[in-house]
Symmetry: C2
Subunit: 663 residues, 2 copies
C-alpha cells in the first residue's frame, strides 16, 4: 500500500502539479467555488465532461451492447420504505467520532489509518529510510500532522502490528475501531485529544416528497434498488428468459462524513451498475466463461489480508474459480470482463488488483465480493465492486410487498414430491389464537419435515402437539387436532419457482476517471529547456477531443480549409477543436497535450497549394503528411483502434519539416 506514486513513464508523480493542471484546464473544479465550495462536490468542465461521456460510451458498448443487457433509468428520489427493507436505513453507515476539543468530526477508520501511517512514516525517518511522498503533497494535511509526524523509531514488532492492522482496516466494526484508538492511544494531531468512541452515521441524504411533507425519502445510495424493484417487469420484457442482466447509469449520493481526496470521495457521483440475475442452482455457471478463462488477474484474497499481508497472486481466472478462490463462474466471468474494460480504457496494467472482501467488510447476505482497485497517489482505490448479493434483495422486497420477484421455470419432466404438508383450518385457527394467530401460524408453517412427522404422530397419539413459539404465552403453544391437518402426501410439480441470485458489478465512474488521469499522466522536458510539459496519454477512444486543428497563422486563406476539415471529421463522427490563437504552433500543441488530445492536424501554406496537411501524434510528437482525405481516414482508423500509429507511419510519408517548431 505504501509505494511512491509514479507517472506513466515511471517519473515521481507530483500531485500538486497535476491537480493544478486539471483545475486550470477545467477537467473538474470544486462546485460553488465562488461561494466557498462544498467539500465532496465537484463540477466537470468540458474536458472532464467529454472524458466521462467517453468512459460511459465504452462501458455501454463493452457491457450492455455486447451482452444484450436491459438498460433502465430509475428514480433517484426513493421513499423510506424501500430503503428500510433493503437494509440501508438501518445499516448504511460509517463510523464517526468527534474531537472533544475542537468538535472536528472524523471518520473513524480513516482516522486510525492516518495515525498509524503517520507513525510508520516517523519510524522510517528515524531509521533513515527514504520516505514516500504520498500524502506529503497535501499541504493542509501536512500542517495538521506536524505534531504526530516526529521521527520516532518503533519496536520491530510494533511496526508489524501496525502493518497488520492496516492490511485489514476494512474488517473492523465501530467497537473494534474504538478499541484500537484506546489501545494505541491515538490522538487528533490538530488538538492532541483522543476522539470520542465511534458512533454510526447514516450516509443517506434525507428529504421529504410531496407538499404535506408526509412521505420521507432519501436520495438513492446506489442504483441497484430500482433495478430489483423492476425485476418482474424486466423478466417479462425479456420474455421470461434467464439468465439476464439489467444495467443502469446514473447519479447516486452518499453524505460522506469528511470527504477529502478530490474526485475519489465525493457526495454525489456517477455510477454504472449491472444486476445479473442467475439461477442459484448448478453452481452459477456462465455460458461464455470459456472465452475469458485464461485471462490472468492480480488477486489479493481474503486469507492473505487476514494474515496481515497485501501480496497479490497472478492467477488465470479459470484456475481461480476451479480452486475456489473466486466463488463461481459468473462472478469470475465478470471479474475478467471488468479487467478487460479497464484495460480498454488505458488503465496501467501494473496498477490494478482485485481485492476480496473480508467477512466483516461484506454485507451479511453476500456470498463473495471482489473490488477492482487501482493504484494512485492516494494509495489503492476501490473503483469497481463485484459482489454476489445472493437472493437477498429480491427476497426481502418480495416478502415486504408480496410481489412475486421470482422465476417460474417449466420443468422438462415433472417432479414427484412426497412430503409432510400442513393444512391450517383458517376458520378455527385464527379465532382460537386471537391476536397471536398469525405468529403461531407462521411458526407452524416454518417447521421442518422432521418436526412435521413428529407433530403428526403427536396428533394421532394425543390429539394435539406442543410447538415452540417465542413471544407467545410462555413460548410453548399447544395446538389441537381440530385446528389443522398434517399429512404425508405425493404431488407432481410441472413448474419450478425460484428467486434468482444477483451478481452485481458496480462501477464508480468518477474514481475510474481520476485514476485513469493519473495512470496516463507524464511530463516531457521541452527542447527549449522550459519547465517540464504535461502530457495525458489517453487512448484515442477515451480522449476528450480527438483532433486539434491548427492553422499555421491567422491568415484568412486558411479559413475555408479549417471549415472543410472540421466538417469532414464531424461526418466520420470525430470530435475536433480549432486553435487559431496567436500562440506558436508548439505552444498550441503543448496546451493540447495537457488535454490529452491524441492528434493534431496542421494547415499551412502548402495546404493552400496542394491540399495536403500534416498529422501529429501526441506521444511521439512525430508527423506524417498526406492529402486531407488520407489524413481523415488515418485519424478514423486510429480513433477506432483499427490501426496503430506505427501502421500510419508505414503508410504515409513522414514529415520532418516543422519538427523543431512543432515538437
Amino acid at each position: 500500500m505504501t509505494t511512491t506514486a509514479t507517472t506513466l513513464k515511471g517519473q515521481p508523480l507530483d500531485r500538486n502539479v497535476l491537480d493544478s493542471i486539471l483545475r486550470r484546464r477545467m477537467f473538474y473544479t470544486p462546485s460553488f467555488e465562488i461561494y466557498g465550495g462544498v467539500s465532496g462536490l465537484y463540477d466537470y468542465g468540458p474536458p472532464g465532461c467529454a472524458l466521462q461521456a467517453n468512459i460511459i460510451d465504452i462501458w455501454r458498448k463493452h457491457f450492455i451492447l455486447e451482452e444484450d443487457m436491459l438498460e433502465v433509468d430509475c428514480s433517484v428520489l426513493t421513499p423510506h420504505d424501500v430503503l428500510k427493507t433493503s437494509g440501508h436505513v438501518d445499516k448504511f453507515a460509517d463510523w464517526m467520532c468527534k474531537d472533544p476539543k475542537n468538535g472536528e468530526i472524523l471518520r473513524a477508520d480513516h482516522f486510525v489509518e492516518d495515525v498509524l501511517e503517520t507513525r510508520l512514516r516517523g519510524d522510517k525517518e528515524a531509521r533513515g529510510e527514504k520516505i514516500e511522498e504520498k500524502e506529503e503533497a497535501d499541504a493542509k494535511k501536512k500542517k495538521k500532522k506536524t505534531k504526530g509526524q516526529a521521527a520516532v523509531k518503533l519496536e520491530d514488532d510494533v511496526v508489524k502490528e501496525y502493518e497488520s492492522i492496516l492490511a485489514k482496516i476494512d474488517n473492523y466494526n465501530g467497537e473494534q475501531l474504538g478499541d484500537l484508538i484506546k489501545k494505541y492511544d491515538m490522538r487528533n494531531a490538530a488538538t492532541g485529544a483522543q476522539p470520542s468512541p465511534p458512533v454510526a452515521f447514516n450516509l443517506m441524504f434525507q428529504t421529504s416528497i410531496g407538499p404535506s411533507s408526509n412521505l420521507p425519502g432519501y436520495l438513492r445510495p446506489e442504483t441497484a434498488q430500482g433495478q430489483f424493484l423492476n425485476f418482474a417487469k424486466l423478466l417479462e420484457f425479456n420474455t421470461g428468459g434467464m439468465p439476464f442482466a439489467s444495467a443502469s447509469v446514473g447519479k447516486s449520493y452518499r453524505n460522506e462524513i469528511s470527504p477529502r481526496a478530490g474526485l475519489l470521495r465525493v457526495r454525489e457521483f456517477l455510477m454504472a451498475e449491472i444486476e445479473h440475475f442467475v439461477d442459484p442452482e448448478g453452481n452459477k455457471k456462465h455460458h461464455r466463461f470459456h472465452e475469458v478463462e485464461t485471462i490472468e488477474l492480480a488477486l489479493l484474497d481474503r486469507h492473505t489480508q487476514l494474515s496481515g499481508l497485501t501480496t497479490v497472486k497472478h492467477v488465470p481466472i479459470g484456475k481461480a474459480v476451479s480452486e475456489g478462490i473466486v466463488d463461481n463462474e459468473t462472478l469470475g466471468y465478470f471479474l475478467a470482463r471488468i479487467h478487460l474494460f479497464l484495460k480498454k480504457l488505458g488503465v496501467d496494467q501494473t496498477k490494478i488488483r482485485f481485492r476480496q472482501h473480508m467477512a466483516n467488510e461484506m454485507a451479511h447476505y453476500a456470498a463473495d465480493c471482489w473490488d477492482a482497485e487501482l493504484l494512485t497517489s492516494y494509495g489503492w482505490v476501490e473503483c469497481v465492486g463485484c459482489a454476489d448479493r445472493s437472493a437477498y434483495d429480491l427476497s426481502v422486497h418480495s416478502q415486504k410487498t408480496g410481489a412475486p420477484l421470482i422465476v417460474r421455470e417449466r420443468l422438462d419432466e415433472p417432479k414427484i414430491i412426497r412430503e409432510w404438508e400442513v393444512d391450517i383450518e383458517k376458520k378455527k385457527f385464527g379465532p382460537f389464537f386471537k391476536k397471536d394467530g398469525k405468529t403461531v401460524e407462521a411458526a407452524v408453517l416454518a417447521t421442518t419435515q422432521e418436526q412435521r412427522e413428529k407433530f403428526a404422530k403427536d396428533l394421532e397419539a394425543n390429539d394435539n402437539f406442543v410447538i415452540d413459539v417465542p413471544g407467545v404465552a410462555d413460548g410453548k403453544v399447544e395446538v389441537g387436532q381440530d385446528l389443522l391437518k398434517i399429512e404425508y402426501r405425493t404431488r407432481t410439480e410441472n413448474v419450478r419457482e425460484y428467486t434468482p441470485n444477483v451478481i452485481e458489478p458496480s462501477f464508480g465512474i468518477g474514481r475510474i476517471l481520476y485514476s485513469l488521469i493519473e495512470h496516463n499522466y507524464w511530463t516531457r522536458s521541452s527542447d527549449g529547456g522550459d519547465e517540464a510539459r504535461a502530457v495525458l496519454s489517453f487512448p484515442p477512444s477515451v480522449a476528450p477531443t480527438k483532433v486539434l486543428i491548427v492553422p499555421l497563422s491567422s491568415n484568412k486563406d486558411f479559413a475555408p480549409f479549417i471549415r472543410k476539415l472540421s466538417q469532414k471529421l464531424r461526418t466520420v463522427g470525430i470530435s475536433s477543436r480549432i486553435d487559431d490563437s496567436s500562440a506558436t504552433i508548439g505552444k498550441r500543441y503543448s496546451r493540447n497535450d495537457e488535454l490529452g488530445t491524441p492528434f493534431g492536424i496542421t494547415i499551412d501554406f502548402q495546404t493552400i497549394k496542394d491540399g495536403s496537411v500534416t498529422l501529429r501524434e501526441r506521444d511521439s510528437t512525430r508527423q506524417v503528411r498526406a492529402s486531407e482525405d488520407e489524413i481523415v481516414a488515418a485519424v478514423k482508423s486510429l480513433v477506432d483502434h483499427s490501426k496503430s500509429w506505427a501502421d500510419i507511419e508505414s503508410e504515409l510519408p513522414i514529415f520532418e519539416g516543422q519538427e523543431v517548431e512543432i515538437r
Copy 2:
C-alpha cells in the same frame, strides 16, 4: 386549446390504449410500483431509456457539436446560499390551496383550469355540441368530476369570460387566483367545498449536507445556476472569446404539488440546458442568424393571449425579429434552431407552436421568453423554454460573492470618459459612520452623475451635502467634505468591462419524449381482422432499436447467420435485437412495430443457400431482398438518413414472397 387528440394518421387518439402499450412494453413505468408507487416519479425501461439516449445524442450533435458549446456537468446538491441569491428560495413556488373538508391539496391554477373547462364542457353538452374526449379518458378524474359535469348551459358572455381566463391562466398570481375562485364560486367536485385561499409552496426538495446537518441545501430546480457560477472559468477556458455558450444535460427536481399527467409533470426529470452568453450592446445580433431567417414559426404572442385568444401566426423568424415580435436576433436564432431540432426528432409539424410569456408569467428580470409547446392529448405542453434572462443571474451572484463575473474587452480605440468621480477617504469615512459605514458608502457610490454634480456644488458651498440613505438614522445623512472628494475628471479607458446577458434554451427531455411518442403513434388494422395494431413511427435515428433480426424458425442452421449479421450491424454502429421466439413472423414484427423498430431483417432457408436476406420497412410493411452486405449498407444509409426507403426500393429488388405472412 380544446382540439381532440389525434394519432399520426389523424385517427382519434385513445390515451388509455397508448398508456397500456407504453407500460406493457416498458417504455416507462411508475417508480416503486410494488410499494404502491410515488406520484410524479417514473422509471424508464429499455425502450424508453434508448429513446431518451437517442434524443440526448441528437441534441448534443444539433447544439453542442454544431456550435462548439462548452459542456459541463455540475452538482445537483446545491447549498442554500446559492439558491437564496438566485431568488429560488424566495420565489420558486406554485400556488397551493387546500380543500377544507377532505384536506386534499390542490394546485390553484390547475384547479381553476379544471373547473372552468368542466363548466365549458357541460355547456357544450347542454347545447348539444360534440364533446372532446380529452380528460374523459382519465377514469379517476371523471369520477371526481361527476358533480360538476352536469350539462348546464352558460350565457354566451360567460363562455367568453371563461375562455378568456383560460387563455391567460398563466398570468394570474395567487391573490388573483383566489379572487377567481371566489368570484366564480369554484368548488372541489369531490367534496363540494370551496378551497382555501392560495398560498405559496416552494417547489425545491430540501436536504442537509454533511454529518453535523449544518449546511442546508436543495436539489437543484434547474441546471442553470451551476453554469452561471462557472462563468469566469468557462470564459477563460474559451480563451476570453465572446459570445459563447455552455450547456448541460442532467437531472433537476421540483416537488410538484399534485403531479398527474404521466411523464409531463414529474418531480425528477432530465433537462438539457444551454446558457448562451452575449454582449448586451449592439442589439444581441447573431452571426448565423441569416442561416435561419426564412424559417417559418407558429407564433402565439403575448398580445394575442392577453386579448383572450390563442390564434397563432405563421411568421418567418427574420420578420418576427425585425418587427419586434421576438426581442432580438440571438433569441430568434435559438427559436429557429429549437424548431429544427424538434423537426429532426419527428415532432408533428402541425402540433407545434411558440408561445410568448405574458408579463406576470415571466421572471421579473427576463427581457423576453418563448415556450415551444407541443400539442398532446393533455393539451398544449411546454417542452422547451427559451428565455432572455438578461444579466440578472451573473449580476446577483457577482454582487453576493464579489467574484467578477464579467467580460473584459480590449477596446480597438481607447475611450475618453469625462465624468464626476467620488473618492472616499476610507480612513475617516468608516470610523465616522461606524456600523452604518458600508451602507452610507454604497448609497454615495450608487449616485447618478446629476446627483454627484449637485453634491459637489453643495460641498463647495456648505462643506457638506445631505443624501438619502434609507434605514440609516432618519433616512437623511449629512456627509462632510473631509470624508470624500467629488471631482469632474477625464480618463482614458482601454478596456471595456461588461456583464453578459444570457439567452437560455431549456429542454424538458421527458416531455419531449412523451409528446414525440404521441405524435408518432397510430394504429393499423391487421389483415386477419384482429384488433388494431399499434405502430410508433419514430424516425430511424430516434428509434430505440434500429433493426429486429427475425429467423424464420428456431432451426439451428440459422444461428451462425444471426450471429454474423448482428456482428456486422454492430460494427457499423447500428443496434439490433434478435427475436427467435416461436411466435409467427407476423406477430414478431407486430410486436416490434409497437416498439418503433423501423427495420426488420428476416433470415430464412434461402439465406442458407445464397446468403440473401429480406429487409422490411415498418411503416409501409414493404420488403426488399438482397445480399447481407447490401442490406447492412442499406440499413446504415436509412439510419443516418442519407437515403429514404423509396431510394432503397429503387435500388434493391422488391420482395413479395412472404408478404401476407409478414405484413
